[in-house]
């Protein structure tokens, strides 16, 4: 563990061993999947530099369900984008399964996002011209060239249908996003994020745009993924009741980790 990480721990006045102890027993032997140390990021607005993250450290264990909470504008989404290598931190390091990923070349980061890290967003971010099934197939279409895709397309379509079935949408295969409700779109997005069988799922307020019932359905799916399929999940959320279900909740404030709490 780096000194920056220790600093952060000190700041929270919680020792590393305490942390581990407080985690769910099933995670005690889990390796670290994702680790961020001293991540800083600031945006430049003309001449003014707006600091968003001032050294954020987190650690995510395999099989863990971690929540990131914080006030609006505290930089949660920004941080998640850095974890997903959609953007580069100004400073600090990000490791995925012990490999540093924040400074990888673009091609490697593309592969990482395509095959190892799944993402879901508040606004679903489905491609409007494609059907539910095609949206779910998108990651493998990007992965495989034309010939390779065509040769394996039965297998891929079967898997995509299974995933849509898993999220309860087997009756919506041919629907376009605008023909679906928010909850349905989010379920398609979840299925898409699972298509490449990623080791890590990053979710940015997946229930933020949904009513309570739909949000609960989504959360049920996410919980099932985590418990039944052992998918590691990092989820940004506003909803404290959702955060309470997480193994570990990281609170961001003023660009730092303000506190870390564990499921009781």
């Amino acid at each position: 563990m780096s000194s920056a990480y220790e600093l952060a721990i000190e700041h929270q006045a919680v020792s590393s061993t305490d942390q581990k102890n407080q985690l769910h027993p099933r995670l005690l032997k889990s390796p670290v999947v994702l680790k961020a140390t001293g991540v800083t990021k600031s945006y430049r607005k003309g001449k003014v530099e707006v600091p968003v993250l001032n050294g954020v450290d987190i650690e995510v264990l395999e099989g863990e369900f971690q929540a990131i909470v914080g006030a609006s504008g505290s930089g949660k989404s920004t941080f998640l984008h850095l974890l997903a290598t959609l953007d580069k931190p100004d400073d600090g390091e990000i490791y995925f399964e012990d490999n540093r990923i924040d400074n990888l070349p673009a091609a490697s980061r593309d592969i990482l996002r395509n095959r190892y890290i799944g993402m879901i967003f508040q606004f679903y971010h489905l491609l409007p011209e494609l059907t539910a099934l095609e949206n779910v197939l998108m990651p493998v279409m990007i992965h495989h060239g034309f010939m390779s895709y065509m040769l394996q397309r039965r297998k891929f379509r079967k898997r995509a249908k299974e995933l849509l079935d898993l999220v309860g949408l087997s009756h919506r295969l041919k629907h376009r996003p605008r023909e679906m409700s928010g909850g349905e779109m989010q379920r398609v997005a979840i299925a898409r994020s699972l298509m490449a069988n990623p080791r890590l799922l990053l979710a940015d307020e997946p229930t933020g745009n949904l009513d309570r019932a739909a949000g609960e359905e989504i959360m049920e799916i996410i919980h099932e993924l985590n418990s039944a399929y052992d998918v590691t999940i990092v989820m940004v959320t506003h909803d404290l009741s959702i955060a309470a279900q997480a193994d570990r909740t990281v609170r961001l404030a003023e660009g730092r980790v303000e506190s870390v709490s564990f499921q009781s």
Binding site: T78, H81, A84, L86, D87, A106, A107, D110, I111, L112, R113, N114, R115, M119, F121, H125, L126, L127, P128, E129, L130, E134, M138, P139, M141, I142, H143, H144, G145, F146, Y149, M150, R192
Partner: protein
């Protein structure tokens, strides 16, 4: 894979983008139409020029001069006998023709190019005989007047000609000569201007009026003015009674006239295209030409029109007149009194299929050097070089202009694509978040441009080909709607717009248009590829 799918879906969901390539479509269609019509025209011209002009022409600089054509032909045979299919000698001289217009009865004088031909061999070197109006003459010309039947298989509504016409004409003249005093008291209007209507099946009324420059006077009926020399009956005066020429059963030396020498093309009262003939096979004409004297004197002789020549090249149809070579040599004094050697002014060659024109020309030029013989040796292409080059230039310039139109369309595509990229910003972010590389994003939009270009130029190709296929029908419609003549057969001498679709040209036009569409989509595609994924995802 996703690139194809997305390009295709964008194409299907953004019909507005199709509008941006309408100009590509139109440009492609116009290019194909213009090229086909131009190719049709120039091909038709080539065919005609080539048909009229033999492959290679050896022409003496002097009108009187290429003595002993047999010797020359032997030489040529030894030189390039393998390549030569046919050879003929001819005389080509400027001349004046003089005949009585059978509409107005006035005398018409015109400059012509008089060509003395050996009718046995002349049709071997060019398509000459194909252009004759009488079917028998098309088989073999003999310079003898035929009974009737002129224009069969070529022109319907051709007026009565040949002996049938000549007999009636002679009889009518005879009557006019016999009773000149009787006719004096008769009102001029009662005397028919001609024994024949101009066109066999339509009224004479109105025709005179449509022919520019000819007013409606009818006073010049043949024979009514006794002091005029009546053609065809030159020796009718009682001074020389011993020579009796009976125009109803005899003919002068035959002459084949270019059809435009003795006709004009105009429109009748109904606007139908119609030919008006001032003279027809069976009529007599006088031709005046220079002899070989020093200085040349004008020689005149009477000829009987035995056929008309219609190559549909107005330049030739309005100037060529063909007479038998031997007769012309006699009349001009081109026979050497001592040796009996006759002269000609040109030797024309037709080469075998596939023979190299220029190579043979060069051989001949080497054999008959210009310093020694003063002959001009040219291929038909050399002779019509400026005309062919002009058509070529015209085609090139039109192509450049039309391609500029497609280039303008390119800018339309550019603008539309920029808008589409802006509209699709979030999609780009999504794709990148799913791990699509920038190059992949770029190729989506390039593929989009490619498919737009393909669709646009494909539709343009189909439209263009359809247009070309029905061009004459379409020209007809436009004429009906606007009342404007689109393609005036009186000007072009074609009854139909000739078209030739060159597949290679089509391919190039389509490739060019697609290339422009793709090039125009490069900038927007690069812009899309460079979008920052996070900003693209945040984009609302």
């Amino acid at each position: 894979m996703y690139k194809l799918l997305l390009s295709w879906r964008y194409l299907k969901s953004r019909y507005i983008a199709l509008a941006s390539i309408v100009s590509v479509t139109l440009g492609v269609a116009t290019l194909i139409v213009v090229n086909s019509v131009m190719a049709g025209f120039s091909d038709e011209m080539h065919k005609r020029l080539h048909g009229i002009l033999s492959d290679i022409v050896i022409r003496s600089h002097d009108l009187n001069g290429l003595p002993d054509p047999e010797w020359h032909m032997d030489e040529i045979h030894q030189l390039a006998g393998d390549d030569i299919e046919a050879m003929t000698a001819a005389i080509q001289i400027p001349a004046m023709i003089n005949f009585r217009d059978n509409i107005q009865g006035q005398w018409i004088t015109q400059p012509i190019t008089l060509i003395g031909i050996d009718h046995q061999t002349y049709s071997g070197v060019s398509d000459f005989s194909e252009y004759l109006l009488h079917p028998d003459n098309r088989e073999q010309l003999d310079f003898l007047l035929k009974e009737n039947d002129y224009g069969r298989g070529k022109k319907d509504r051709f007026p009565v000609s040949g002996w049938a016409r000549r007999r009636v004409s002679a009889e009518w003249e005879q009557n006019a000569v016999e009773a000149p005093s009787d006719s004096e008291g008769i009102d001029a209007a009662d005397i028919p201007s001609s024994p024949f209507p101009l066109i066999d099946d339509s009224g004479v009324e109105g025709q005179g009026a449509t022919i520019a420059g000819l007013d409606g006077q009818i006073s010049g009926a043949p024979g009514s003015t006794g002091d005029l020399d009546v053609p065809g009956v030159p020796f009718q005066s009682s001074n020389e009674p011993e020579i009796v020429f009976d125009p109803s059963s005899e003919q002068h030396t035959g002459i084949v006239l270019g059809i435009s020498i003795c006709s004009v093309r105009g429109r009748d009262a109904d606007g139908e295209v119609m030919d008006y003939y001032f003279a027809l096979p069976g009529d007599d004409v006088k031709v005046t030409f220079p002899n070989t004297g020093q200085p040349p004197k004008a020689v005149s002789d009477s000829f009987t029109i035995v056929d008309l020549y219609e190559s549909e090249m107005s330049e030739y149809d309005s100037s060529f007149a063909f007479v038998p070579l031997a007769k012309l040599q006699d009349l001009r004094g081109m026979v050497d009194v001592q040796s009996g050697v006759k002269s000609v002014s040109t030797i024309q060659l037709k080469l075998k299929e596939g023979a190299d024109l220029n190579a043979v020309r060069d051989k001949l030029q080497a054999r008959f050097p210009i310093q020694q013989f003063g002959y001009q040796i040219q291929t038909w292409r050399d002779m019509q070089g400026p005309l062919l080059a002009a058509v070529q230039l015209e085609t090139t310039i039109l192509n450049i202009l039309l391609f500029l139109i497609i280039a303008v369309a390119g800018f339309g595509i550019l603008a539309t694509f920029f808008m589409i990229v802006v509209e699709k910003t979030r999609d780009v972010g999504i794709l990148k978040s799913l791990g699509a590389p920038s190059s992949g994003v770029m190729s989506i939009f390039l593929g989009y441009g490619l498919s737009l270009g393909t669709v646009g130029s494909g539709v343009g190709l189909v439209l263009g080909l359809l247009f070309v296929d029905h061009i004459n029908t379409i020209a007809g419609w436009i004429e009906q709607v606007t009342g404007q003549e689109v393609f005036d057969p009186t000007v072009y001498y074609f009854n139909q717009i000739p078209v030739i679709v060159n597949p290679l040209t089509c391919v190039w036009v389509v490739i060019g248009a697609i290339a422009i569409a793709v090039i125009a989509s490069i900038l927007p595609a690069r812009k899309a590829a460079k979008l920052h994924p996070v900003e693209a995802l945040r984009y609302e």
